[in-house]
Subunit: 320 residues, 2 copies
DNA sequence: AGGTATCCACAACCATTCGTTGTTCACTAC
DNA sequence: GTAGTGAACAACGAATGGTTGTGGATACCT
């Protein structure tokens, strides 16, 4: 199917005749006729009834019209997403179920008129490089990795401290607990697959292990979130950490927000102290994108300062 | 922009190299190279970094990828909407703000997995013809026009009795009333532009006028809903009828559901008796579309029988 | 009723695009 | 260094898509 044919179809439907559409599109009437005929051939239905006074939509054409408009709208957005200069605000998040993604959803709800592109880069170095080059406008990260000061021009604002929770199956020894302390977790097996060495997450959990004597295994291949949840649910002696605002499953688009299979998983708050992910927004000081200022204002307005007493972050984290 | 190029882009992004993508698409590697180059030229950005081990997405490519997928998805739906056989359930409603549209929204919420196409045909004759030919699957109408029995094979189910309300401006004499009787309306000017002679609505209001001695004007050009509301709001002596479930304005897509300009309009219930629009679902007895049965079941389950005492419908309306 | 204007379809022709084959270039691994 | 892999460039043939020219059907006007 040809997008130009679809555009021609919409124009004919709007003008009511091939000739006016041809004038609008700066082509000849015969070209319009050919395009519509080709579209009708590929779809296998007649889209217009040709009358001596012009062309009228058939029922099939009426059903097709909103889809055609949507197609053109999506195509325009797709082009805009890549256009250099005046493109949508491009923000990197850690993963699609994390707190950064949730904050961006909130921003989109508050400012639906602002075009967004949310993407997931591999690590903080890539994000910083992308911010410096202007390829992306901002990034949600837990900064900064120890010994790696931010390059000149990159600024960061701590926007959300997300408490960690223990995620365990129904047969786990702590399944009935209303909360657990970090000290209680010593001796329990905690599994965090997918922690890639060299990323900021390694540094975070290294510090957590060193300070509270936990046993955290990062071994084994990471088969993705689903497999992790399955294993946690089925293994009584296994636990993992998950951010309080992190969804264990991707919300299904359009479907009622039920978790397809929650396996009876339990979320147990961690206390004394509560380890938190210090989410920060990274951006370039000189980035002129107007929506970036809106995003920063939105974040400072909605994520009011949390109480930091009783929480833990690595020592190298920049204070608020 | 060419959809085939977009499809090629997604395939390369998925396979990670031009050659595999070429094999998947049954074309040569050179053709893939050309298509990607052309797409990059039209977008003005580089989408892949060409490595000796294959192709990797650039940041721009990563931002473009979800849009590309969405574009292909929409294109597929667009084609499906017109495909003869196994197309989405196609339902005709009277207008986009009426009760039929609302019922279809409810059905979509309850069954998001069912593909729908909602369209608006001109009148009941056209709807019946379309149902007979199989061009549409069902239609929400106030049936049947007097003296026009339904053709063989067409069935109707009365699904909703929608009470009429009086819509008036803030300066109207009845603006303060909590409700009005039909008898009270005698002598007031009621304006119903856009009632096309020969449609079922003419018959409905003709009967209403004859039975209760009202003055209903259908004169003047119909400049659309906005103009009607403006006039009603500004003219103290003018009123119009509107269904209880009818939205005076189109809900804005994505925006908070505020009415852009409500002009201080008042809705006054009508009593003694309450005239109602008898909405029915029309469909062909032999229509095999599986979603049609689902729709009928949904409607009978959700629109439980309303109390008919104190309501009025024309005598020619088929009883429930 | 016949002429005329309007509007779309068909035919022929031409330019451009698109896909193919053949080949070259860059990089990696052994 | 040599073999192997993966993408780009060049040249050619086919097919697509645009144009001009023309014909046919219908409605309106005199």
């Amino acid at each position: 199917m040809d997008l130009e044919a679809v555009r021609t179809f919409v124009t004919v439907a709007e003008t009511g005749q091939f000739q006016k559409a041809a004038a609008d599109l700066s082509i000849t009437q015969q070209a319009v006729s050919k395009r519509i005929a080709a579209l009708e051939r590929t779809l296998g239905v007649r889209l217009f009834t040709r009358a001596p006074r012009g062309a009228e939509l058939t029922i099939d054409g009426q059903a097709f019209l909103p889809h055609a408009r949507e197609l053109l709208r999506v195509a325009e957005r797709a082009v805009a997403s890549a256009r250099p200069g005046r493109r949508p605000l491009r923000v990197d998040v850690i993963n699609s179920r994390g707190a950064g993604s949730g904050l961006m959803r909130g921003f989109h709800t508050a400012h639906p008129e602002i075009d967004l592109d949310v993407l997931m880069l591999f690590d903080i170095q890539g994000a910083v490089t992308a911010i410096r080059s202007g390829a992306i406008d901002a990034s949600f990260r837990a900064v900064a990795a120890p010994g790696r000061p931010l390059p000149e021009g990159i600024e960061s604002v701590r926007v959300l401290d997300e408490p960690l929770q223990l995620l365990i199956g129904p047969a786990h020894a702590l399944a009935g607990a209303r909360s657990v302390t970090l000290a209680q977790l010593a001796g329990h097996r905690i599994w965090m697959p997918g922690i890639v060495p060299g990323t900021e997450w390694t540094a975070y959990y290294d510090d957590l292990v060193a300070e509270f004597g936990l046993t955290i295994e990062a071994t084994g291949p990471n088969f993705g979130s689903d497999a992790l949840l399955d294993t946690i649910a089925d293994t009584p002696a296994l636990a993992t950490f998950m951010g309080e605002h992190t969804l264990p499953q991707l919300p299904l688009g359009g479907a009622p927000s039920v978790w397809p299979a929650d396996h009876g998983l339990r979320r147990i708050p961690v206390t004394d102290p509560t380890p938190v992910y210090p989410h920060s927004l990274l951006y370039h000081r000189d980035n002129p994108h107007p929506a970036l200022a809106t995003l920063r204002a939105h974040l400072t307005a909605t994520t009011t300062g949390h109480d930091a007493t009783g929480t833990w972050v690595p020592g190298w984290v920049i204070p608020r």
